[in-house]
């Protein structure tokens, strides 16, 4: 049994456990144990992966397993990981684990909630371990449908509208992606030979340019819709704001990274020539995402909307960095995926906890919460500082690497868009500090909130897990970037070999 398949089997077993458990109160326990095992598994995987690399294994992908599924179409259940996937799997396990504890108080249809949440996680884990395009696409679509039920049943605000808009737009992205994947498949053997869906094999051939020019935009936009590419990001603010806490955490923290990871692993890796040629269009769109998302966050009054637009901005930065196509920027992109994933999960968790106490998310209805709920407020401040890129926390490492990498391009166009993207740091500072000032600091403005209870044990578990990870990456980023860098090297080599820089 391949160790990687365990990442899909354990969630399925957890779901079975939840279905079978008689006492509804035990559901939370089963879910927590299941995802706790998953978290331990991902730590084990990181350890095994690093020991394999230290032993001198220089294969592109490790723990590869290839089971032929549909012989006539050469579709296989193919799994494998490299440093990047391992890091993403680690991120997902941490966020899911934190999300389970952030949902400790869900009462209505509790079993169904946890089943949908873990089904979502299954799709995400499956996506990160797959190296066959069909299997990847299957898990990608699997991750979208539970969102509809999660937002529609347990959400708040305009949940029906948000759920439908989110589902249809994300499926629209996967529609474009499907056409792109079929195009890649039918062009995967330009010199004759067997057509294949396997990423590693396709990466060894060069697709004809006419096909690349058609299918790169389709694939990139297909993944970009999930990764908040302007102008396809509009599902994000309403979707995140209406979703329940754990769902927002998982969605902004992990699902949006599926878009960035997919754009990198499929669109750019398999079609680098078209990526180089057409990158300018998408660089413009992504830098608009970065700046527009940040400006959008400034005018919002609802905490969740602020965070949602912030996610649009940061995820746009991931796509921006990936399009720069040099080692430093791509390194930064992946660190940004992980850093922002943890950060935004932390934000949404804290917002959920504050909302659970004050029953409002409007910042001008609350004030001076630092004196009332100090633990949560301090966590919020730390999260905010990470988001605006304070050195010592992970946001700084990621953004610094991205901008250094982007600036390595010497032509005017790249320099100008890099400067535009860097300006988003300032805008981010504005909206983050504005919230901290109004919400947390100063005198208490509403005496109803003077008697709020501070964080309970499960909320502390949730917050501390995430803050710990953010700080670890911020203070000692070398363990993460070395793991990623080793895996990035063959990819970048391939891109450099094909494209004269």
């Amino acid at each position: 049994m391949n160790i990687l398949s365990l990442f899909v089997i354990i969630p399925v077993l957890t779901i079975t456990g939840i279905v079978l458990v008689k006492d509804v109160k035990r559901t939370k326990l089963v879910a927590a144990i299941g995802m706790g095992i998953q978290l331990i598994m991902s730590a084990v995987l990181i350890f095994l992966y690093l020991s394999q690399r230290r032993a001198g294994n220089t294969d592109e992908m490790l723990f590869v397993s290839n089971v032929l599924w549909f012989k006539s179409l050469n579709i296989a259940y193919a799994v494998g990981v490299d440093g990047i996937s391992v890091a993403m799997i680690g991120l997902t396990s941490i966020v899911v684990f934190a999300g389970i504890f952030a949902s400790w108080e869900v009462e209505f249809l509790r079993k169904e909630f946890f089943i949908s949440l873990i089904l979502l996680a299954t799709g995400v884990f499956g996506f990160f371990i797959s190296i066959d395009l069909f299997t990847m696409f299957l898990f990608y679509e699997l991750a979208v449908i539970p969102m509809y039920l999660l937002i529609g049943i347990w959400g708040t605000g305009p949940k029906d509208y948000s759920a439908m808009k989110l589902t249809l737009m994300l499926m629209g992205g996967s529609a474009l992606l499907l056409v792109g994947l079929l195009g890649i498949y039918f062009n995967s053997a330009p010199g004759g030979g067997k057509l294949t869906f396997n990423i590693l094999e396709i990466s060894k051939v060069t697709m004809p340019m006419s096909a690349q020019r058609l299918f790169f935009p389709l694939t990139f936009v297909g993944f970009g819709v999930l990764g908040a590419l302007f102008p396809f990001h509009t599902w994000s603010p309403d979707g995140h704001a209406s979703a329940p806490t754990a769902v927002s955490m998982l969605h902004a923290g992990v699902l949006m990274k599926l878009g960035g990871y997919g754009a990198f692993r499929v669109a750019i890796f398999l079609m680098p020539q078209a990526a180089k040629e057409l990158s300018w269009i998408f660089i413009i769109l992504t830098s608009i995402s970065v700046v527009y998302g940040a400006f959008g966050a400034i005018v919002q009054k609802d905490l969740k909307y602020i965070n949602a637009y912030s996610s649009v901005s940061h995820c746009g930065l991931v796509l921006f960095a990936v399009l720069m196509m040099n080692k430093t920027a791509m390194d930064g992109a992946i660190i940004q995926m992980i850093s922002h994933g943890l950060m935004t999960a932390l934000f949404f968790a804290l917002i959920g906890m504050i909302y659970g106490r004050t029953h409002t998310r409007m910042i001008n209805e609350m004030g001076g919460l630092m004196k009332v709920i100090p633990f949560l407020s301090v966590c919020y401040v730390i999260a905010g500082l990470a988001s605006l890129g304070l050195p010592g926390l992970s946001g700084f490492v990621a953004e610094m690497t991205i901008f250094v990498g982007a600036f390595q391009h010497t032509d005017t166009f790249h320099r100008v868009v890099t400067i535009m993207a860097i300006s988003s740091i300032v805008i981010t500072a504005v909206y983050i500090l504005r919230v901290v000032a109004i919400l947390l600091l100063g005198p208490s403005t509403n005496e109803h909130y003077d008697h709020l209870k501070d964080a309970k044990w499960y909320e502390r578990v949730s917050a501390v897990t995430l803050i710990g990870s953010v700080a670890a990456i911020g203070l000692a980023p070398f363990w993460l970037s070395s793991m990623i860098g080793v895996s990035l090297q063959p990819i970048v080599d391939r891109i450099m070999a094909i494209i004269p820089m």
């Binding site: 006539s72 509809y148 039920l149 439908m164 529609a175 499907l178 056409v179």
Partner: protein
């Protein structure tokens, strides 16, 4: 007739025998034995379905008019599986007081249409094809009018028989043109002398129109919504799945074997009609309130997707069409099974009546959701694989724009399928349909549909088997 010849025709002969047996059962049972006829017919048909899977000889009969090859036997077995599910689902509805007296007529008519479809699929001669198609259509019109206590049922029957008559007339007019210009009606011989001159293309257009009526392709779909809404639920499910599926099969066979010369023409025709069918089917489904009408328009758009498998004329295309019809059988019969169960228990057929169904009947809601997701093409259920293979078949021949239009239509269809899911899971309702327990046969049928929906996707052997038996132009 030697034993070999009998065995070649075994599907049709067994069906005829079954019809006679049910007729005898009708004669020899009194008024209180009627319910047994239902169980008897189901068991009989289950035996026939099983017998269909026995490996026997392939060959041709009647000088080539009747063809039994591995592909046609596969198609007939698929149709039989679907019909068996319809049979099993019908029993509980037929057990009701008002439906019980003519129960044997129901089964005899249904078996007759099936025999007609089997003849149609196995045809090697246009006359056999026409006999099959007529035998398949006329009893169904009688079945549509089965429910004597509802005007809509009679309306459905009349609409079906009149529009079928017109389309059959057009069909045979086209066939007569082809006969006039080629001098023969045997498929194999027409292919050799077919030149594709104008009169033959005109004949082909009329043939296409006749078949498009049966498959409910736009713009020949106008009968579908009213007939599906008026007919009893089980006949609707039969029409939407079996009738459509068998028409698609024989249409595909004739396109690939008789008309390959004018492939350019029929590809263009199918391109335009499939875009129209998918789009109009999806757009009209959004506004529907009645669940049967809703599923009618959804099945119109499904026919549009199936045309994508046909357009390439490749082996993968035929394989994907046959596979998709099988997936479609399980998904649609699952959805209609739930509709039938709810209709039998409460008489309610509007989508707004399904509000809050999850809280009273969670398992039925779940089965409905899985079936709708399979129809929409969402993983991990089989509909995803079916749609993926259809799109792959079209993409193999370079029809990428058509695939793009098809996937965008999938998004529209997801919207209206989610409306039903929303009604069941999310909408609040003070008086939802009460909890009820369906009888065991209905539950067996629904479980079989769910098992089929899951197994079809993950068990790749089914698709590989179908592909090995397919052929291209």
């Amino acid at each position: 007739m030697s034993l070999d010849n009998l065995l070649i025709m075994r599907h049709e002969l067994l069906l005829t025998l079954a019809a006679l047996l049910v007729l005898s059962a009708e004669i020899f049972t009194g008024p209180h034995g009627k319910k047994q006829i239902g169980i008897f017919s189901v068991i009989l048909f289950a035996l026939i379905t099983a017998a269909g899977f026995l490996p026997v000889k392939y060959g041709t009969l009647f000088g080539g008019m009747y063809v039994a090859s591995a592909t046609t036997v596969l198609m007939k077995n698929i149709i039989n599986i679907g019909a068996l599910l319809v049979f099993v689902q019908s029993v509980s509805w037929l057990g009701k007081e008002e439906n019980r007296e003519r129960i044997s007529e129901y089964f005899i008519l249904l078996i007759s249409t099936l025999a007609g479809m089997n003849f149609m699929i196995s045809s090697g001669h246009f006359l056999m094809f026409y006999i099959g198609i007529e035998l398949a259509t006329i009893p169904v019109a009688a079945l549509s009018a089965y429910d004597r206590y509802r005007n809509t049922s009679a309306e459905a029957g009349i609409k079906l028989i009149l529009s079928s008559a017109l389309s059959s007339g057009i069909l045979i007019y086209g066939l007569s043109m082809i006969y006039g210009t080629t001098g023969t009606l045997y498929f194999a011989e027409i292919q050799k002398v077919f030149t594709g001159n104008n009169l033959q293309v005109l004949g082909f257009i009329f043939f296409f129109a006749g078949m498009a009526f049966k498959i409910s392709i736009v713009p020949f779909h106008l009968w579908t919504a009213d007939v599906y809404e008026g007919s009893p639920v089980n006949i609707t499910s039969y029409l939407s799945v079996i009738s459509k599926g068998s028409a698609v099969f024989i249409f595909m066979i004739i396109l690939f074997t008789v008309f390959p010369v004018i492939m350019g023409s029929w590809q263009k025709t199918i391109y335009v009609t499939s875009v129209l069918t998918m789009t109009i089917g999806n757009l009209f489904a959004i506004r529907q309130q009645n669940i049967k009408r809703f599923l009618a328009f959804s099945s119109i758009s499904q026919a549009g997707y199936i045309l994508l498998g046909l357009i390439g004329g490749n082996q993968l295309g035929m394989a994907s069409v046959i596979y998709y019809v099988l997936v479609y059988i399980f998904s649609n019969l699952g959805a209609f099974g739930v509709v039938a169960a709810i209709s039998n228990a409460s008489g309610k057929e509007n989508i707004s009546d399904y509000n809050g169904l999850y809280h009273t009947n969670p398992r039925l809601s779940l089965i409905m959701t899985l079936s709708l997701f399979s129809l929409a093409g969402i993983p991990p259920v089989a509909g995803f694989f079916g749609k993926f293979f259809l799109f792959t078949a079209a993409a193999q021949k370079g029809f990428y724009l058509l695939v793009l239009i098809a996937v965008l239509n999938t998004i529209i269809s997801l919207y209206y399928y989610l409306l039903v899911v929303k009604a069941m899971f999310i909408n609040k309702c003070d008086t939802p349909i009460g909890t009820f327990r369906s009888d065991s046969l209905t539950r067996i049928a629904l479980l079989a549909c769910v098992a089929g929906i899951f197994a079809m996707g993950f068990a790749s052997v089914i698709f590989e088997l179908i592909r090995n038996l397919s052929y291209g132009v």
